[in-house]
Every structure is written in structure tokens, then in C-alpha cells.
């Protein structure tokens, strides 16, 4: 945006954007303002920069330019509706709303409009069951596999026996924060550990009660499902009560630079789940630098951070889905329905990621009609406060699939019954 364009735009009277043909329209429902804005910004930048790079370097995907339409949701469901309605008729290919609330709302709407949703590591977990949720994809991981990954990591640390151990869950008191509870309860039964639940109300600026309780009860491990200011305060308070950071494991939304930097050196050793790698050591960043940062087309302010990487990863998965769909249909100008079919046979391999310039960035996996949830593998990353870097300390490991699959089947069956859906995939 420069002055000239602004002037030109001003000259053009108030009009609604018209659908431009022969380009791939990707709406980007993001939030750069509001209480969760600080986390939304790097994600939105990563998502936008990835597609901008494809446009600049390759001339789009398969010869079609990508038209990324950003729409500000401020993490607000009503604005989310507005954004969805404003973009759905423009030929939008895929929605990634980065909000569990908005995802729940869009599930029936997008299904009816035949547009896929890729809720990567958030949203409705049981949407992993492709037999019920035809248009929703949540690879490569979900909250239930995440909960199981936390417990698996603890099992590793404790040599496989956590009987009688105390594990506390500090969670955002909302739909998102409550997601892991059922899984953790099931796992608590299976492994006979003691689970204590500590809800924190939005926004979570004041958590003294919760942390005094933790200090009293001395749980052996803490896991956290937080977002926004809650993360910073929780990590700060954990440091204050001198809780050993390496026994404090956050979900992937509680493990970004934003969350640990305010606590300074005291956050050293804090762990979080990761569904992808992070950092600047990828050949892709050379291209990003040449084509975007150096030409001033993007600031690259957040490049290399966890949430920027996540935005980029989300962009990469969507782009790979589009490529798959283009190959499948044989035409470059695909529709949302084609992309849905493309996602269903999407295969992310090590070679593909290396070719893109992101070797080892995420797990390799395959999506199928039955399973929209991908591999459900998760790694653990740890914060190094001195060098200010996150690094993966485990490979991508699967969760406790028996428990997760059972829960997914139960929950999706309930949804199917409520909405009179019959199962797909033969």
C-alpha cells in the first residue's frame, strides 16, 4: 500500500470487492488486534508471507496467482461470521480461522458451502473423523493427541511409571481450554495418576490463587492450555514460585516467544508441544529474504518465531493441498470442492518438504477419507532463554491412539446423531 494506491482507491467509490476470475482466492481470517492480537500477528504474517513468496517467486501455484484476502476477526465469532460471509462467494478455497470458537461455527456453514476448513491443531478434535466431517481437516495434530503427547512425555521422563503422580492442568476456561480434559481423565484412569484441574478465566491476568494452589499441592508435572496474556502470566508465576520449568509443559498455543520472553531468564527450560519445527535454519528463508524482506514487500519482523513458522506451515499445507488438487483434476484453476478432494489424498513427505525448502519442518503424513486428522504426532520443544531459541528435543511421536480414536469415534457419533448425518467413505 502506498500513497498512489491509496489515492487511486479513494477515487474509486465505495464498492464491494468483485470476485476476480482465474486466480486462487484464499481468505485469511486472522486477528491483528484485540486481546489475542499479539499472538495473531506473527501467524498472520507467516501465512501471508508464504503465499506472497509463491506469487513472487513461482508466479503463484501451478501458474495461478494466489489472491490472499485478509479479514480481521479480532478472535470474535461475530466478526468471524462477517468475514466468512464476505469471502465465501469470492471463490474462497480454504478457511483457517485460528480460533476454536469460529471453527465450531463454520463447521456446518462451510460444509454446506462446500469449502474445506483446515483447523490445524485447534477447533473440533473429533473432526479428525472424516467419515462424519466431510469438509473439516485438522492434521497434523489435535488437542487430544496433544494431551496424550504430554502424558507420553511424562511417561518417558518417569521411565514409564507415573502411578500416583500428580499432574495439574492449568487451562483457559473456555471451549478451547476444556478440550484436553476428557482425554486426560481417560489417561489418568489408564496410568493411575492424579489429575487436578485449574481453570483460569479470560483474560487471565490474575492467577495468584491457581499458583498458590500449585505451590501447596506440588504437582509433579504441570501442563497448560492457555492463550494470550494467560500464558505470560502463568509462566511468570511458575517462575516466581520456583517451579522447575522442565516439568511445565504447555500445549502448542502456549509455547511461543511471546509467552516466555516477558519472564526472562527464569523461563529457561520451559517446554511446549510442537506440531512443526521452528527457527531460521531453512533454505526457504533465503528465498523469503530475497523476494520479500529485502524488497520491502514484507517486514520479516517476526520471521523465525514459533507462531510465524506456524503460519508458514499452515500456508504450506494449504498450498500442497492445492497442488495435489491441481494434479488430480488436471486443471490449474481449481474450486473449493476440488481442494477438499485434494486434501483427502494429501501426502506430505520428507522429499516434498525438502523440495519446498523446509526439510524436517514437520512430520510426514498421509490423509485419507476416513482420517482427516493426519498422523497426530507431536514433538516437544524446549525454550533456551539465553539464546532465545526454541528447539525440538524429541522426534514427532504418536499419542495413545487407542484412547484418542475411541474418544473421537464417540464424539463424532454424537455430532452425527445430532445432525442426522450418515457416514461417508464406503
Amino acid at each position: 500500500m502506498n500513497i498512489k494506491r491509496m489515492m487511486m482507491a479513494t477515487a474509486v467509490a465505495v464498492s464491494v470487492a468483485t470476485p476476480a476470475l482465474a486466480e486462487l482466492v484464499i481468505p485469511s481470517l486472522v486477528y491483528r488486534t484485540g486481546a489475542y492480537g499479539p499472538n495473531g500477528i506473527p501467524y498472520a504474517d507467516g501465512y501471508a508471507d508464504y503465499f506472497a513468496l509463491l506469487n513472487e517467486r513461482d508466479g503463484g501455484i501451478g501458474g495461478e496467482m494466489v489472491n490472499l484476502i485478509e479479514c480481521e476477526t479480532a478472535y470474535n465469532t461475530e466478526k468471524g461470521v462477517e468475514c466468512f460471509e464476505a469471502t465465501k462467494d469470492l471463490g474462497s478455497l480454504v478457511y483457517q480461522p485460528l480460533s476454536t470458537g469460529i471453527t465450531y461455527q463454520l463447521i456446518p456453514k462451510a460444509t454446506a458451502a462446500d469449502i474445506p476448513i483446515l483447523s490445524m491443531g485447534y477447533g473440533r478434535t473429533s473432526a479428525a473423523n472424516g467419515k462424519v466431517f466431510s469438509h473439516i481437516f485438522n492434521f497434523p495434530g489435535n488437542y487430544w493427541s496433544a494431551a496424550s503427547a504430554v502424558i507420553n512425555h511424562i511417561l518417558d521422563q518417569e521411565n514409564g511409571d507415573i502411578k500416583g503422580k500428580k499432574i495439574a492442568l492449568v487451562y483457559h476456561n473456555s471451549a478451547y481450554g476444556r478440550e484436553p480434559i476428557r482425554t486426560l481423565e481417560e489417561l489418568a484412569k489408564k496410568h493411575e495418576f492424579e489429575l487436578s484441574l485449574l481453570p483460569v478465566d479470560h483474560p487471565g491476568q490474575e492467577q495468584k490463587s491457581q499458583w498458590l494452589q500449585i505451590r501447596r499441592e506440588k504437582p509433579d508435572y504441570i501442563t497448560m492450555w492457555g492463550w494470550g496474556v494467560m500464558n505470560q502470566v502463568a509462566i511468570q508465576e511458575a517462575a516466581n514460585i520456583r517451579y522447575p520449568m522442565e516439568k511445565f509443559i504447555g500445549v502448542w498455543w502456549s509455547g511461543s516467544e511471546n509467552d516466555v520472553i516477558p519472564a526472562g531468564m527464569k523461563a529457561d527450560g520451559y517446554k511446549a508441544l510442537a506440531m512443526h519445527n521452528t527457527g531460521m535454519d531453512y533454505p526457504l528463508y533465503d528465498d523469503l529474504k530475497t523476494y520479500l524482506y529485502d524488497t520491502g514487500k514484507a517486514s520479516g519482523e517476526h520471521a523465525g518465531t514459533v507462531l510465524y513458522s506456524r503460519g508458514m506451515y499452515a500456508g504450506m499445507l494449504a498450498a500442497e493441498g492445492i497442488k495435489t488438487a491441481q494434479k488430480m483434476t488436471g486443471k490449474s484453476n481449481i474450486t473449493a470442492g476440488d481442494l477438499r478432494d485434494g486434501f483427502e489424498v494429501l501426502e506430505i513427505t520428507e522429499e516434498k518438504m525438502a523440495a519446498i525448502g523446509m526439510p524436517n519442518f514437520g512430520p510426514s503424513f498421509k490423509v485419507s477419507c476416513e482420517s482427516h486428522g493426519g498422523p497426530m504426532v507431536t514433538a516437544i520443544q524446549q525454550w533456551d532463554a539465553k539464546n532465545k531459541t526454541w528447539s525440538l528435543i524429541t522426534p514427532f511421536n504418536p499419542g495413545d491412539m487407542d484412547v484418542i480414536n475411541r474418544l473421537i469415534a464417540e464424539d463424532s457419533a454424537a455430532y452425527a446423531a445430532e445432525n442426522n448425518l450418515s457416514e461417508r467413505c464406503g
Binding site: 491509496m6 491483528r32 454446506a112 478451547y176 442426522n420
Partner: protein, 358 residues
């Protein structure tokens, strides 16, 4: 200029007491209503319905409700978000417990339940007054939201506590769920608004409304002339909560389709409704609607102008949106402190007298 009249001649009480005493207003109102019912449904699309008209109509209902309590009866309430949640969850429970029940009844049941809850929380208003009353309603707000979050029965023991509305039809048309057509949902909400606004207008003009206003203007004086403050305040809380509950039920079932109580019915919703009625004009049904229109439409309009037409970056546009809305609120206040409805009244007076200002 638009009003071609030559004086104020009334020959019957009926003519004197009608809602729109001026002929032009009356005609305009009927024309507006007719076009709302018979023209708009043919041109409406998903965007206009879901992003503009539904929120406007639903918030219109809610702000009429709050205006009855705050504008007419003088009791400040910051619990509207919580009361909306009561309506929404009642509606959800009814919809899932009785799948064959008509949606309209589910929504009305939401309103009735909310009225009862509202009356309960209204009782302390006999003793606590003014801004301090806000604490009672805030307690309601936070307690209700916490309760809906905590007790799994309310969300049918689902894993996350989100409630989603199943598809329900009326006269063969889907009103809720993804297959609802924009025209059907629009007409459904419009009917609720028209009926409730009509009711509200006549309630506030009748003896009940006069009692409310007496209490608002000075409760001790009202008590002396024989208004029972208990009854007046309780009815105001009841009626107001009914409206707010109906609006909450509609937000959940028709507009959003899936809600989470902390996000959709949090404290910011209570503030939003209060902003609507203050900006629109306290003690005015028209004001409630204008205020709702301002708070719902202005952000959408500004966003469309700045992002779609000027091509600004969305975050800059969002910041300017706040600046402009804040600036407009202050500007309108300085021009006319009693809200947009009063501004309209003044303009109307001017227009009736034009071109002779005296």
C-alpha cells in the same frame, strides 16, 4: 420540506394518542415495514443477512429490552450478556430435549426463563441504586457465565462446552442450521423485532410504562403518589430480561449457530448493549434501534470502506475503525448529548417548520 402540514389539529383522543401523530411519519413507517417484508427478502443475500441485518435485528430486540430497564425505569444493568446466555442455553436445552417443538416456542421459552432469572437479580434493586446497582447485574453477569461454563448439564455434557443449534424448520423453511436461507432467517428475526417493538412501544406508553418513568425520575416521589416501587422495578426487570433473553436465544440459534458462553455472552456484550442504548437515546424505542444500527453497521461499513475500497492493511483499518467510532461517539455527544434519537427529533422539528424557522 418533506413534512407538508399546516398545524396540529386533532379531533379525537385516538388521533392524539397514536404512535405516529404525523401523517408523513405514519406513511413512511408503513412503507418501511412493507418494504422490509415484501421487498428486502427478494434481494437479500447471505452477506447482508448474516453480517448486517440479522445482528441488527437481534441487537435491536436486546437493546429495546435494555432500554426498558435502563432508559424507562432508570435501573443501570451490566448483566445483559449473562441474561442473553440464559436465553440461549434455555433455547438450546429446549431444542435438544424436544426436537419437534417449534423454534419460536424455544426462543420464547428462553425469554420467559430469562425473565424469571432477571426478576431474581432485580430484587436487590429496591435497596441498591444508581451506579451501585451495576454491581448486582455484574454479579449476575459473571455468575451466570461461570455457571454455564461449569455445569455440564447445560451443554449436554459435550466435550468442550460449545453448544451448536441443530436444524429446525418453520413452515417448511429451515431457520437454523447451515441450510437456512437468508430470507427465511431475516423474516423470522424481523417478525420478532416488529412484534416485540410494537409491544414495547405500547407498554411504555401505558400505565406500566408511566410507572417505570415515575420511578426513573424520582422513586421516592413516585412512591408517594402511589406507584409501588417493588412492582414497577420487578416488572421492568422481568420485561427487559424477557427481551434480552429472546435476543440471546436468537443470537445462538439463528445468527451464530454455535456459541461458547465466555466469548459470545461475556461482559463486553453487556457493555455493547449499554453503548447502543446510550448512543441511540435512553427512553426511546426508536433510539434503541438507531443505537443498535450504529454499533452493528458502523464497524462493518468502516471496514468495507477502508479495507475493500481503499485497500488498507486490515490492522490499520481496524485501529482506525476504533478511532473513528470513538470520535463519532464523542462528536455526537457534543452535538446532541441525548443520543441519536434526540438528534433525529430536533432535525424533524426543523424540517416540519422549514422554510419558516419560527
Amino acid at each position: 420540506m418533506l413534512y407538508r402540514e399546516a398545524g396540529d389539529f386533532k379531533v379525537s383522543y385516538q388521533a392524539d394518542q397514536q404512535t405516529f401523530p404525523i401523517r408523513f411519519d405514519r406513511l413512511f413507517f408503513w412503507a418501511l415495514l412493507a418494504s422490509a417484508y415484501f421487498v428486502v427478502p427478494f434481494f437479500i443475500n447471505d452477506y447482508w443477512a448474516n453480517a448486517v441485518l440479522l445482528p441488527f435485528l437481534i441487537y435491536g430486540v436486546a437493546s429495546i429490552g435494555l432500554n426498558i430497564l435502563t432508559g424507562y425505569c432508570g435501573q443501570v444493568s451490566l448483566g445483559s450478556g449473562g441474561f442473553m446466555a440464559v436465553g440461549a442455553y434455555t433455547c438450546y436445552k429446549m431444542m435438544t430435549a424436544f426436537p419437534d417443538l417449534n423454534l419460536a416456542f424455544c426462543i420464547l421459552a428462553g425469554g420467559v426463563t430469562t425473565a424469571i432469572v432477571g426478576i431474581m437479580f432485580g430484587l436487590p434493586s429496591l435497596r441498591i441504586k444508581g451506579f451501585y446497582l451495576a454491581v448486582v447485574t455484574l454479579a449476575a453477569q459473571f455468575f451466570l457465565v461461570w455457571m454455564f461454563n461449569k455445569v455440564p448439564w447445560f451443554y449436554n455434557y459435550s466435550a468442550t462446552g460449545m453448544i451448536s443449534s441443530p436444524e429446525r424448520t418453520m413452515f417448511g423453511y429451515a431457520i437454523t442450521g447451515p441450510n437456512a436461507t437468508p430470507a427465511a432467517t431475516y423474516l423470522f428475526c424481523l417478525t420478532f423485532l416488529v412484534v416485540l417493538a410494537f409491544l414495547g412501544r405500547n407498554l411504555t406508553r401505558g400505565s406500566v410504562g408511566r410507572k417505570w418513568m415515575a420511578i426513573r425520575d424520582m422513586d421516592i416521589a413516585a412512591e408517594i403518589i402511589g406507584v409501588n416501587p417493588l412492582m414497577a422495578k420487578i416488572t421492568a426487570f422481568g420485561v427487559s430480561s424477557f427481551y434480552v433473553g429472546v435476543a440471546g436465544a436468537m443470537i445462538f440459534s439463528v445468527y451464530l449457530g454455535a456459541v461458547e458462553v465466555t466469548e459470545a455472552f461475556g461482559i463486553q456484550k453487556s457493555f455493547l448493549l449499554l453503548f447502543m442504548i446510550i448512543i441511540g437515546g435512553l427512553g426511546s424505542i426508536l433510539g434503541s434501534l438507531v443505537g443498535a444500527a450504529f454499533m452493528v453497521l458502523m464497524p462493518v461499513l468502516l471496514k468495507n470502506i477502508m479495507v475493500n475500497s481503499f485497500g488498507w492493511a486490515i490492522d490499520i483499518a481496524a485501529h482506525f475503525e476504533f478511532i473513528i467510532i470513538g470520535g463519532l461517539i464523542v462528536f455526537f455527544l457534543i452535538v446532541e448529548p441525548h443520543g441519536l434519537a434526540q438528534l433525529w427529533r430536533i432535525i424533524k422539528e426543523k424540517m416540519r417548520l422549514w422554510p419558516f424557522p419560527h
